[in-house]
Symmetry: C3
Subunit: 161 residues, 3 copies
């Protein structure tokens, strides 16, 4: 791959690799719980602990392709640093969701969805990037620098709990 | 990202963003049904209505990475306009599948698979694009223009129910 | 898409298309088992045979986005031929896992995870590619040729069972 392409994507690649690590960590938790309860059976054990970790992994895996798609779109169409920052935040939120799901007591992370704000932010970034492309194409005016400054500032807002 | 790259992919990005929106819509339907029946429990409620919406979302989410992979391959290797059109058709079919799944009566959208024709079309487009690349590489003859015209015409066939 | 980009990715595209074919094959197995047992019901049939094939397909589909992400990262950041070879190995392992899961007797492919070695290899390739990028950027020394030779040799190690 050419160097200039890698220059614009290496942060995205790093966050993707981190998310892969996290996926493997989740899957190993499931594997471990599965091994604890029944060594050889192929069917799902029905214990509540297994159901919980399986369901947490399931919900995380459900949202993963959606996250990857919008994350790479935002990083490629708009700018990579804010997208990578939002991606890191998403991984933190996902970790918290998974741990909260496994705990018996229902903490602040219930439900089926999580990280809605981060996905919305990445979605908005992609839309702005595409919109800017149309502006360049049809009006010749490029607001890329403004947009990158604004998205960098706006990504800090994701830190607010 | 450079402008000429975005010029060849902006339709693909737009369809990807639309599919992300649809995914979020599906997930919110599940969330809503989940909230209706039990507010706090982590385990899956066993009502038929929830099972149905959960299963519909599950089947759609299962096919999503496959669709994304073949969609981007077709768009990048062959040409983007027919691929984006087929992607839009896929999103319509998926919406119809989801709605049909949630309805009590079994309409025209049963089963586990859907959009087979569209996936096959995208798959064929990718194969043709790769084949054309080999032709250029080893014979020096480029049929890209013919292929793009033919795929544009063929994509209209997807409209036939 | 420009030809020089396709030159660096056509093997990746081919393996991706093969994995899509395999996904469709798995999904059709589920569809078939589903049709055998109940023609019209939307809910999952509870027979052991269906549960087994459904679960095998589920576990394969769970790991698919993770595989795709790390596969493309490795292919783009490092070099495509070893990545494509590892991808092919992964498809073989997945096929064996699926068939082993459907068989009644518990053979050599139990558990929830599979292909750990291949995923780790692809992950390492991506890390090396990113690390090499930093070396080029900050020290000006390029080890790409050495890395590609080493990864090509190392990918042969994946053949050891």
């Amino acid at each position: 791959m050419e160097l200039d392409v890698l220059e614009n994507t290496f942060l995205l690649v790093l966050v993707t690799l981190l998310s892969v690590l996290q996926n493997v960590f989740f899957a190993q938790k499931v594997e471990q719980e599965c091994k604890t309860h029944n060594a050889r059976s192929f069917l799902r054990p029905g214990t509540p602990a297994f159901e919980r970790v399986y369901c947490a992994n399931r919900n995380c895996a459900d949202a993963y392709p959606t996250f990857l798609a919008v994350f790479w779109c935002a990083g490629l169409c708009c700018s990579q640093a804010p997208a990578a920052f939002a991606g890191m935040m998403y991984l933190f939120v996902r970790q918290k969701y998974f741990v909260g799901y496994m705990g018996e007591t229902s903490q602040s992370t219930p439900g089926y969805l999580f990280g809605k704000r981060i996905i919305s932010f990445l979605f908005l970034m992609s839309m702005v990037g595409i919109f800017n492309y149309f502006l360049i194409e049809y009006y010749g005016s490029d607001y890329k620098d403004y947009i990158q400054t604004i998205t960098k500032a706006a990504s800090a807002l994701l830190l607010i709990p």
